[in-house]
């Protein structure tokens, strides 16, 4: 590692990968968007930063994991003994996660936040921190984490990768690749023939080594040709699963917006977020509205958690929700806290910003991006991008 590498100027930026990185960013941001929706709704209604939201997300991931185990996708099971997965399995897992998260969210609201409603704001904040820590470390006691489990990749029936070519490559390059491939296949066949009379692949006779090296040479030429082809064209690769996350986020956002704008419950939610007491005076059952808000917000987090666990295959630990939770909160602030499209916009922007920082070569600062964005937004435009530009004065 070069001394001071962290602070030196990045090497030349590789613009060829930029489209892929932006797509990466948007896909990562979709997850932040889902979690941010929960934060923004709760803040809009209760003016409370629900620190425990990240932990609800974590519980959703574990629920999805346990449901997958119930289906038979346990660890240490050889691949040929795994069952088949289907859309139905995925839906059951998602519903289970959403249900568990909604329940946990409601319990937290009822027993930790409701008693704090008439207290000073910092009391609610501290209680939220306490619940968050309790879930993290309580999970640390009871949930499997050493080593961190991952969802079996076969749970996801949609494992194809979609490739989109934005700029094609010249015909002759493809021809070169084809020729190189034929040569490589020939060399490979020769080697395979020879291998039958050899002891094993890694202890070869001189003749075997010669053929093996010839195969490698051919392979290298093939790779060279392929890489020239790749550099000449611009493609974007997207896993089908990750695309599903983006689509799901957008769909849920749309449904939520419909709910908030066009249903009586949505109207009541807007009323409560405008003025808590007046809404109560107008006959709105504020306790019920708050509960519904938590149900929806937590269920969305649960859906997001199930999707990350299944489609991204990340390791699940009790601290799974800490960093995504903070980043999603920043996303909500960025978009305008209390603003639903803002949360989604903020989430996508956060994802892109983070990935661009990694693209530029500063991967060690990727996590800091969230906090820097937060401070900048709060200092200069606390209302967020889609919110008002009024600065809160004392």
């Amino acid at each position: 590692m070069v001394p001071g590498a962290g602070l030196s100027l990045a090497a030349a930026l590789d613009f060829g990968t930029l489209p892929s990185q932006i797509v990466n960013g948007v896909l990562n941001g979709a997850i932040y968007a889902l979690i941010a929706l929960g934060y923004t709704m709760v803040y809009g209604v209760l003016r409370l930063i629900n620190f425990a939201h990240g932990e609800v997300y974590m519980l959703g991931a574990y629920t999805a994991l346990f449901v997958s185990w119930a289906y038979g996708f346990r660890p240490d099971v050889p691949p040929d003994q795994l069952p088949e997965s289907s859309l139905a399995t995925l839906l059951v897992m998602m519903l289970a996660s959403m249900a568990v998260c909604a329940t946990v969210g409601v319990l937290i609201e009822r027993f930790a936040y409701r008693p704090m409603r008439n207290q000073a704001r910092i009391s609610s904040l501290i209680t939220a921190i306490g619940v968050s820590l309790l879930l993290q470390y309580g999970g640390g006691l009871f949930l499997p984490q050493n080593p961190p489990p991952t969802m079996n990749e076969r749970v996801n029936p949609y494992r194809q990768t979609l490739e989109l070519t934005l700029v094609g490559a010249p015909q002759q390059l493809s021809e070169v690749v084809e020729a190189a491939r034929r040569e490589f296949q020939a060399a490979e066949r020769t080697f395979e023939e020879r291998l039958k009379s050899e002891k094993d692949q890694f202890n070869l006779s001189p003749e075997g080594q010669r053929l093996r090296d010839a195969k490698f040479e051919a392979e290298r030429r093939l790779r060279d040709a392929e890489s020239k082809l790749n550099s000449a064209q611009v493609t974007v690769r997207v896993g089908a699963g990750r695309l599903a996350i983006l689509v799901a986020s957008l769909l849920l956002m749309f449904l939520l917006r419909q709910l908030v704008l066009f249903t009586p419950t949505g109207r009541a939610m807007r009323a409560v977020s405008q003025d808590f007491d007046s809404a109560a005076l107008m006959g709105v059952n504020v306790d019920r509205i708050v509960t519904i808000t938590f149900v929806i917000g937590s269920a969305l987090a649960g859906a997001g958690a199930m999707m990350t666990a299944t489609f991204l295959g990340t390791s699940i630990t009790p601290y799974y929700g800490v960093l995504p939770g903070v980043k999603a909160f920043v996303a909500a602030v960025l978009g305008g806290i209390g603003n639903i499209p803002g949360a989604v916009l903020g989430g996508l922007l956060m994802g892109v910003a983070e990935t661009l920082v990694i693209w530029a070569g500063y991967s060690q600062f990727a996590d800091a991006v969230a906090f820097v964005v937060l401070i900048v937004v709060l200092l200069f435009r606390p209302g967020g991008l889609l919110g008002s530009s009024a600065v809160e004065k004392v």
Partner: protein
């Protein structure tokens, strides 16, 4: 306070530190001395955070940032300059202390400025974010030692010289307590308290709100930075993972539990929350392995705590009563909690699944922290000691009342 009493307190404090130092060096092993040092550092952190949160009424939940800044100031300076300057040993430490406090105060200035524009919970998040930025930036900085060893932010760095003097650490803690207390009793302290209660009204009364707020941040962070310097030299190794968000939350718990605004509360809570887990960690079961709690007793205690919280809230809702009656109520509930918890644990131990699930007590430490934070918020948000403060006057009053009662018969 009278000058005599003041001088006497100072002398008593110094003598106490010196005595503590001698006793620790004589009677305790190095690992136990380390615990005493850490306790002193936590006390400093709690009292300095109390200044910002409890007395000035600001929402600062990223206190670990200043701790880290102090530690890394000492670390970087030692890395570059130790051995090349005539200053060595304890004088070097004192110099580092002042420099660390200085940089931390600057950081406090940077964090304090947003407090002028931001409302409560937004400020809290900004302070948290600032702490994380510091941690990530430090982690990204790599240095190469002259010996060629990679010394990096993420890998941690060693700090020279290694100096662990119990008396010095506690002297610093006492200084922090003294300064905070004197600040409170002065006109500046009154200004801070008025800002805490109602900013607009105090501004209307002529209090220089921005200046005082930032000053509170700077003083609090300076002491946290000093504690960081002492930590760096005591442990002789620092790494960014020693200053996570959780550390800020632990210090916050200490302040909240003890009573925001009460220095005594902060000190007692810091000592309790530090020593009880350490004590539990040191306990050994008869066969010599670490002490564990069975699932049965754990469930029993959880149920008991929940029941106690419910009872206390119900009581607070129904009855008013005098302070004495309330205190008796709390005490009765606490005793009831202990009894019920133990009994439930014993009853549940006949369930084999629960009896066999074992949890190491030290893992329970953070769970207990978090739980106590929630319980305190539900039961007594102003903290155990509330706004009460220890003072010589209070002691004198109590003794006088005692003597009067005895005289009356």
């Amino acid at each position: 306070m009278a000058l005599r009493v003041r001088i006497a307190s100072i002398l008593a404090g110094l003598a106490g530190c010196w005595l503590l130092d001698v006793l620790c060096r004589g009677m305790l092993r190095e690992s136990e001395q380390r615990l005493v040092v850490l306790a002193g550092l936590y006390v400093t952190l709690a009292v300095s955070l109390n200044l910002i949160n409890g007395i000035a009424g600001q929402f600062s939940i990223g206190h670990a940032a200043f701790y880290q800044i102090g530690a890394y100031t000492a670390g970087y300076l030692a890395f570059f300059y130790y051995g090349r300057l005539p200053l060595q040993g304890v004088p070097w430490l004192i110099a580092m202390l002042f420099l660390g406090m200085g940089t931390a105060a600057l950081a406090g200035l940077v964090v304090g400025l947003p407090s002028l524009r931001l409302r409560g919970d937004y400020l809290a998040i900004v302070t948290l974010g600032f702490g994380e930025i510091i941690r990530i930036v430090v982690q990204a900085i790599d240095l190469t030692a002259p010996t060629g060893e990679q010394v990096g932010g993420a890998l941690g760095m060693n700090v020279e010289p290694r100096i662990r003097i119990v008396g010095l650490v506690w002297l610093f803690a006492l200084t922090c307590i003294a300064v905070t207390r004197n600040l409170c009793k002065s006109s500046h302290g009154l200004a801070l308290l008025s800002i805490r209660e109602d900013e607009i009204a105090s501004a209307a009364m002529g209090v220089q709100v921005p200046k005082m707020k930032v000053a509170a941040f700077m003083i609090g962070s300076a002491f946290a930075g000093g504690a960081g310097v002492l930590l760096a030299h005591s442990e002789s190794f620092i790494s960014p993972s020693m200053f996570p968000m959780d550390l800020s939350f632990i210090v916050l718990t200490m302040v909240v539990l003890g009573g925001s605004g009460s220095i005594t509360g902060a000190v007692i809570a810091a000592l309790t929350l530090f020593y009880v887990p350490e004590y539990l960690r040191g306990l050994k079961a008869p066969d010599g392995t670490a002490l564990t709690a069975t699932g049965a007793s754990l469930v029993g205690w959880i149920v008991a705590v929940v029941a106690a919280v419910v009872v206390v809230r119900w009581l607070a809702f129904r009855f008013r009563g005098t302070a004495r009656q309330r205190a008796m109520g709390y005490l009765a509930t606490a005793v009831g909690l202990l009894v019920v918890g133990r009994a439930l644990g014993w009853i549940l131990s006949s369930v084999p699944a629960l009896q066999q699930a074992e949890y190491e007590v030290q893992k329970l430490r953070m769970v207990i922290f978090a739980g106590s934070l929630i319980v305190i918020m539900l039961v007594r948000p102003e903290g155990v000691l509330g706004r009460h403060e220890f003072s010589w006057d209070w002691l004198a009053r109590v003794l006088r009342r005692q003597r009067a009662r005895e005289a009356a018969g």
